[in-house]
Amino acid sequence: MSDRRPEFEHRVRESGTGTASPAGTSALLDAAVVTADESFDHTEFDDEGVSTAPPVGSSWRLVGRRFVRHKIAVASLIILLVVGGLAAFASVVSPYDFNPPLTSDVLDDARQPPSWEHPFGTDKLGRDQLTRVLHALQKSLLIGLGVAVVSVVIGVLIGSMAGFYGGLTDSALMRFTDLVLVVPELAVLLIVAKNPDPSFFGLFEFPPATEVPGMILILAALGWMAIARIVRGEFLSLREKEYVEAARAAGASGPRIIWRHLLPNTVGPIVVFATLEVGAAILAEATLSFLGAGIQLPEVSLGNLISDAESTVGTDLAYLIIFPGLTLFLIVLCVNFVGDGLRDALDPKATS
């Protein structure tokens, strides 16, 4: 048989001399000792139309390029960044305090219609409404982002285990998900949120829902089911891919395959969901606060600002409810547009 592969033998000899490495290691392992030309000459392989063009950038750059083409999404993102930045630094940006000591100076400014000095006007106690809206927005955005993060963590954890391990694990986790899905959300949220100190029968301390962390936990606890289902669905199809089998054949463990191989391929749907969840959570918080649960005055949130100004509808003071309302509308709209843009940009079936 040796006559059949002369060059093969030649190669063996060549690489044999090239690897003056200690016993047990040779060219493939000993990167430092051998260069490519010593082991096998790769010039003879240069034939399959390897492009000489520089490698295109990462897939994220591609996603970025597609996102930029979505004009409304870009505009929404800019608005969000500007408004979010203003809200984040509200106490620096605004010359007013959102809850100033009610001196006569402040009270004299009460019920001012919108003006250059007070773009959103002032309320019954002379507080600058723009400042109050910005502080409220700060809380709303914090809650929105927090809920998105926490519900993605819960949803991904449950969805990925259900989808990857299948069988009994899948059934158990998905029935639990179904159970949480049929919980009457608003009623439970109201009950939990109105209870200022729910310690779960003394089992563990739960941060009160009247503050941001408690609000985030409550909303996330009832907001992770969609992402769990999405991730499970993706995993069900991804785990049958050959690269998963290849990873197994390379000795990867289950958690490692989930983390390194499956999750990166599920980032698209997760990001889109998380974005939309931000908008949904902001709305949910506003609803709860409007109904008297959640963030309580004198702390401000978009919900309780609107609730506080409820009685101004139809009066000259209606601007007090219009501006917080419009802000809420604008923010949620922008978040959803960004989500739409991301969905289009991350769609693998999209051209270019």
């Binding site: 059949r4 063996v12 493939l28 790769h42 050959e242 000795g251 191989h261």
Partner: protein, 346 residues
């Protein structure tokens, strides 16, 4: 030439794998025994559904529900793999035993840079540090003939051509210097011209590490080019095994002869249709009592339908075995058939 010591690296004996289905259990592999020595290339040949891939997956310990190994033993270097706990098996996979899959397009994770994917394989066995693994990955890409490996390591799989992807897969499989490399139809998804290069890379890599290779294919051309010994499978059983020359020049089994006869040849009459093996493989749910090939065999006799022939020494050549009652008469029968055929067409 590669050094093949006598003690087998891998020995599989009487392997049985079943898949539970609604209609009953499918015997995908039905008593397969084979050995692979160090540095040797053993080809497993057979048509779809003959149990080639399932045999390979059994060795990797990757047979999944509803399939299970119901009998037999797989021994690698004196260690029984059957019944090995999952954690120990994981250490073996990608370490001592590596596998290359059929479709390089789907065997690489699209969300992962090629270099990082190879580094990942290295991190699981050889290295602790990411940097070192990355550098080694780049070097491996160079070894399998990827130009500008440093830059290409940062590419994603979709930026690679089919042949380059399969090279990357080979680099990944060889990364931890496996003792046994299982290549499951490594070139099926590739262009013919690229096939030759990929085989060349595979061979060079194998030579360098002195790894044994289990090559699964239905392409007899590849077998002729790369294998030392050949095992022919049909309906979950080995029907013939022998050296390359035994199989190609002195085959003692009608099925092997049928496979060889169905190959297009440069010197054959181009107007004549290619010979085929009539019929289809039997359902693995209900195997006939006799020889599984009996319904399709040109040389079938009553005995073939009643009893199953065992794998027996076929001729003087050592290790040449065939599972056919009429193995010894085959040459005469073929000569007779050829003479009749010539008469008929004249």
């Amino acid at each position: 030439m590669v050094t093949a010591t006598d003690a087998p690296l891998l020995s599989v004996s009487d392997l049985r794998v079943e898949f539970g289905t609604h209609d009953g259990s499918v015997q995908a592999v039905n008593g397969v025994s084979l050995t692979v020595r160090r540095g040797e290339t053993l080809a497993i040949v057979g048509e779809s559904g003959s149990g080639k891939t399932v045999t390979a997956l059994s060795i990797m310990g990757l047979v999944e529900r509803p399939g299970s190994i119901v009998g037999g033993e797989i021994v690698l270097e004196g260690t029984a793999l059957t019944g090995l706990p999952e954690k120990a098996y994981r250490k073996l996979r990608g370490g001592d035993v590596a596998m290359i899959f059929q479709d390089p397009l789907s065997s690489l994770n699209p969300a992962f840079r090629v270099g990082d994917q190879i580094a990942e394989a290295l991190l699981q066995h050889t290295y602790d540090k990411k940097d070192a693994a990355r550098r080694h990955a780049t070097h491996l890409l160079e070894l399998v003939g990827i130009p500008q490996a440093g830059d290409r390591a940062r590419d994603y799989p979709h930026q690679f051509s089919g042949g380059m992807r399969q090279r990357a897969m080979i680099a990944m499989a060889m990364a931890n210097r496996p003792k046994l490399l299982i290549a499951d139809e490594p070139t099926t998804a590739l262009d013919v011209t690229i096939q030759a290069q990929v085989l060349e890379v595979l061979r060079a890599a194998q030579a360098e590490t002195n790894a044994a290779m289990l090559l699964i294919t239905h392409d007899l051309g590849i077998v002729a080019g790369i294998a030392d010994r050949v095992v022919v499978m049909y309906a979950g059983r080995i029907v013939e095994e022998g050296t390359l020359d035994d199989i190609f020049y002195r085959s003692r089994h009608p099925y092997t002869l049928g496979l060889l006869g169905s190959l297009p040849r440069l010197d054959s009459d181009r107007r004549r249709p290619l010979t085929t093996i009539p019929g289809t493989p039997p359902s693995l749910l209900r195997l006939p009592p006799g020889c599984a090939l009996a319904p399709r065999c040109a040389y079938v006799e009553d005995r073939c339908r009643a009893e199953r022939p065992e794998l027996e020494v076929a001729d003087a050549s050592a290790g040449h075995r065939s599972a056919c009652f009429r193995a010894a008469e085959l040459d005469d029968l073929r000569a007779l058939a050829a003479a009749n055929g010539a008469e008929g067409s004249a």
